[in-house]
């Protein structure tokens, strides 16, 4: 892997050896995604794993977006 960036490598890689993120896979609104819980009821999308192509166009599914965790209590 070759990085081509103006960011100094010490900044880029700092924290690299910290504990891995607590992520897990869930299916929300029919989309299988990897999420990182931030509270009991909310999580942040890490990446989409299995979903229809159109799901990528929805900004609500962008990595970094928050999703509710309580079952299928997604936006109606």
């Amino acid at each position: 892997m070759t990085m081509y960036t103006v960011m100094p490598p010490e900044h880029l890689w700092s924290g690299m050896w910290n504990e891995g993120e607590d992520t897990r896979e869930v299916k929300i609104n029919g989309l299988l995604m990897q999420i990182r819980p931030v509270s009991d009821s909310e999580a942040v999308i890490v990446r989409l794993l299995d979903c229809p192509l159109e799901a990528y166009l929805d900004p609500a599914n962008m990595p970094g977006s928050k999703v509710p965790l309580s079952g299928n209590a997604g936006p109606t």
Binding site: V6, Y56, L57, P75
Partner: protein
């Protein structure tokens, strides 16, 4: 809060996708705040979702995507990095290409660079789209951001933006053999070739900027300003979102005309 949300909405698909979310337009209460509990909910949601009171509504034929921070490739970067994940951008471009309602793609760049493979993959994807694309560099389009910036049909750079052109670096184990240098040169050549074939800059000029000394404080290379980027032929023009949308509309109009050419002669 708004800032944080703003980051999340990296790509705003200003299309009919949101209609399912807020199907109650604010036409219900003409004057007094009697039914406010009903009317406020979508507004509050819109503020939370989009950082503004009105959610994008109506059909737009432009898909806007933003590439920010580090372009993340095969290795997940530590969490303090703000990243654009290429595994999301690539299917997004495929979806935009095949969606008949999307006629043009606007790409906004403010990136410090990142993984060469991922960056070149995104750049190649953008360059191979059949729909018109316009890139706007705001803030910076550094390192691997340069090939992404020039990959579009038309490229713009904001007046205060810069693009840093410098040699590729290598991380990890370096074996002290001549092949290491050859490998590095080969990697660098991929970037040089892509940029020179997708913009008007000459190879000599690009390499001159890349290997210049005395310009950057801790690297060799050049921080190219907006006027210079246009002068060297790297970017097409200096401008912002207004010019980008105008150009995209023009390109989409041209494409529509060529599609209909042969049918109606008007």
């Amino acid at each position: 809060m708004v800032m944080g949300k703003g980051i999340n909405i990296m790509s705003e698909y200003i299309n009919g996708k949101q209609t399912s979310k807020s199907n109650q337009p604010e036409t219900e209460t003409p004057g007094m705040p009697v039914q406010e509990d009903k009317g406020l909910a979508p507004v509050t949601e819109a503020i939370q979702q989009f950082g503004q009171t009105q959610s994008p509504a109506g059909e737009s034929n432009i898909f806007c995507m933003t590439i920010i921070g580090q372009v993340e490739g095969h290795l997940i970067l530590p969490p303090q990095n703000k990243t654009t994940k290429y595994e999301h951008i690539i299917p997004q471009l495929v979806a935009a290409e095949q969606n008949p309602r999307i006629e043009g793609i606007l790409i906004i760049l403010n990136t410090v660079g990142g993984d060469v493979e991922a960056g070149l993959a995104i750049a190649e994807m953008i360059a191979s789209l059949s729909k018109p694309t316009v890139t706007v560099v705001i803030g910076g389009g550094h390192s691997i951001g340069v090939p992404i910036a020039v990959a579009s049909t038309y490229s713009l750079i904001a007046g205060s933006a810069t693009m840093t052109i410098h040699p590729i670096r290598m991380n990890g184990l370096v074996i002290g053999v001549p092949q290491t240098f050859e490998y590095m040169e080969k990697m660098q050549e991929r970037v040089v070739r892509f940029v020179t074939t997708h913009s008007n800059i000459s190879e000599d000029m690009f390499k001159e900027l890349m290997f210049k000394t005395g310009e950057l404080n801790r690297d060799i290379g050049t921080a190219v300003g907006s006027a210079d980027a246009v002068k060297y032929g790297l970017m097409d023009a200096v401008g912002g979102i207004g010019q980008a949308i105008a150009q995209l509309n023009k390109l989409m109009g041209d494409k529509r005309q060529t599609l209909h050419a042969g049918g109606l002669t008007q």
